[in-house]
């Protein structure tokens, strides 16, 4: 499924539990305590999102809402900053700052 197919999803379905609502979620997975130094793209993703907030383009709650709109499998498979990328693309497209497919087009250029 492409990002633009996700974009038109809305977090407005009455759900008992959001995909993000993890307290007490049944799990057998041990806590992986390995740490990794943030890659350049991850630092940039963090920074881009924060600069957008500083400029009032999007806010933290919109950012969280965007992440929460991910389908469950996508949410669980994504890395932490992949979720940030998803929500930033989603919210910026929602606000008309990015055109649908604009990043895909730039990558294919």
């Amino acid at each position: 499924m492409s990002i633009s197919e996700y974009v038109n999803g809305r977090y407005d379905r009455a759900m008992e539990r959001g995909v993000h609502d993890r307290g007490g979620w049944p799990t057998d997975t041990p806590i992986d305590r390995r740490e990794h130094e943030l890659a350049d793209w991850e630092l940039r993703m963090d920074a881009i999102e924060n600069v957008l907030e500083q400029h009032g383009v999007m806010n933290t709650d919109e950012m969280r809402r965007g992440i929460e709109s991910m389908p469950l499998a996508a949410y669980e498979a994504a890395s932490y900053y992949e979720r940030w990328l998803f929500t930033t693309e989603t919210i910026l497209e929602e606000k008309g700052i990015l055109a649908p497919g604009e990043i895909d087009a730039r990558l294919e250029a």
Partner: protein, 206 residues
């Protein structure tokens, strides 16, 4: 229900072995700069700020609280103001709360809903803090989680888990270890670890 816990290191691989997301982020930044939404310099400055944040900042708050009981009380009332007293950047959150560990209670911090974390004082959160298993079990099985981290608590010590569900940020003031009476403030700060300020470890042995 089960989860994969794939919170890091499993990104789809694109050109040159880098994750596909890396190219997307570069394209995103370039597009936003071209549209005049932000500048590369602003992104760079924010990256610089993020990498400047380390647990040493929070450790100074803890060390001062250990040495100065009036400061500790101020930190417990309003840790944001207490951090500013020391010239520390408390971060963007309007409220920071310090949680004091005692002989009777051990605190542990989590954000079950996402990854809220006092990064201005502790630096970026570790991967495990953001992981699905930690977010799930910190509230439902805190003692089990602490055992996984190698932290054994005496039976009479209560565990108190704080779930950062709003914009308040939480930092743990661990108990000052015995035998540290001779250490000065800088030496005390040096034994305060990031994990002890999250609540999954004691301060380092000295």
């Amino acid at each position: 229900m089960s989860d994969h816990g794939h919170d890091h290191g499993h990104d789809p691989i694109g050109r040159d072995g880098e994750p596909a997301a890396a190219a997307r982020v570069r394209a995103l930044e370039d597009l936003l700069v071209e549209k005049g939404v932000l500048t590369h310099e602003e992104v760079r400055a924010r990256v610089d700020w993020l990498v400047s944040r380390t647990p040493a900042h929070g450790a100074r708050l803890v060390a001062r609280a250990w040495l100065d009981s009036a400061f500790k009380q101020r930190a417990l009332d309003d840790a944001r103001s207490a951090a500013l007293e020391l010239g520390l950047d408390p971060g963007e959150s309007p409220q920071v709360v310090a949680l004091e560990n005692t002989e009777d209670v051990h605190h542990m911090v989590v954000c079950t809903l996402c990854s809220c974390y006092p990064k201005a004082l502790l630096g970026p959160p570790p991967d495990w803090y953001k992981s699905l298993p930690y977010r799930s079990r910190a509230v439902s099985d805190p003692r089990g989680v602490l055992e996984e981290f190698g932290l054994h608590l005496d039976e009479q010590v209560d565990v108190r888990v704080v779930d950062s569900t709003a914009d308040v940020r939480y930092v743990v003031i661990p108990q000052r270890p015995a035998g540290t009476e001779h250490l000065d403030e800088a030496e005390l700060a040096a034994i305060v670890t990031r994990d002890s300020m999250i609540g999954v470890a004691h301060p380092a042995a000295h």
